[in-house]
Symmetry: C2
C-alpha cells in the first residue's frame, strides 16, 4: 500500500487533559477539514446532480491529478459520504454517488458557500486594503 488513508489529518490530541467540554471538538474538526479540502468540496458539488464515473469527475474538475481524485474519493467513501459501485464489465466501470449522509452534508456546505459568495467582495476589498497598507 502506498499512502495511508487514516487521517494524519487533524489531531488536536495535544490537549494535556481531555477537557470534556471540547472533547468532541476533535471529531468535529476532522469533519470540518473535509469541508476545507478543496477537492472534497468540488467532488461533492459535482456529485450533487447524480452519480458520475471516475474519469467523468476527473474531466469535470480539471486540474485534479489522478492520484488526488482517487485519494479524495477514498476519503469520502471512508466517511460514508459517497458510495463506490463497480460494474465488472470490460472495460471496467465505476460509479460514485452521494449517500444520504453526503447529501445532508452538502446542505450546510451550500449555506456556507452562499455566505462566501455574498461577502466575497467585502473580503477581497479587505485583502486589497490590507495588502496595500503593509507594502507598496
Amino acid at each position: 500500500m502506498g499512502t495511508s488513508l487514516k487521517p494524519a489529518h487533524i489531531d488536536l490530541t495535544a490537549s494535556p487533559r481531555p477537557d470534556p467540554d471540547h472533547a468532541d471538538c476533535r471529531g468535529v474538526a476532522s469533519v470540518l477539514s473535509r469541508v476545507g479540502d478543496k477537492w472534497s468540496v468540488l467532488v461533492i458539488m459535482m456529485l450533487g446532480d447524480g452519480p458520475k464515473r471516475f474519469n467523468e469527475l476527473k474531466r469535470m474538475i480539471n486540474g485534479i491529478s489522478q492520484r488526488m481524485l482517487t485519494l479524495t474519493l477514498r476519503g469520502l467513501e471512508r466517511d460514508g459520504l459517497v458510495t463506490r459501485t463497480i460494474f465488472p464489465t470490460i472495460p471496467p466501470r465505476v460509479d460514485y454517488e452521494l449517500t444520504d449522509l453526503g447529501r445532508g452534508l452538502s446542505e450546510p456546505v451550500k449555506a456556507l458557500g452562499e455566505w462566501a459568495m455574498d461577502h466575497l467582495t467585502q473580503i477581497e476589498a479587505a485583502r486589497t486594503r490590507f495588502d496595500r497598507r503593509n507594502n507598496g
Copy 2:
C-alpha cells in the same frame, strides 16, 4: 519579512479557459479553505465571546505555536474577519476581536459544526467499517 501572507492557498487558476459559470468559485474556495483551517476556526470560536489578547488565545488553544497563531491572526485580519487593536502601554497589549463580518461567518460555520456533531457517530462508524473491510 519571513513568510508570505498572500495565499499560496488555493488556486484553481488551473482552468484552461476561465469558465464564467464557475469563475467566482475560486474566490469561494479561498473562503472555504479558511473554514477548513483548524486554527482559523478555533480562533474564531474563541473570539466568539468577546475580544482576547494574544497570549490569552495562545493559552486557550493549547497546542498552537506562536508562529501559527500570529500567521492565523494575520490571515483573519487580512480577510477583514478580525480587528487588531494595539494599546501602546508597557508591557504592550494587543486585543483581537471579531468584526461584524467575522461574526457573520461564524453563523454558517456553527451550522456546519452542529451538523458535524449530529452526524459524528455515523461518520465514525462508517470509518471503522471501512477500515475493517480494507485491512484488519
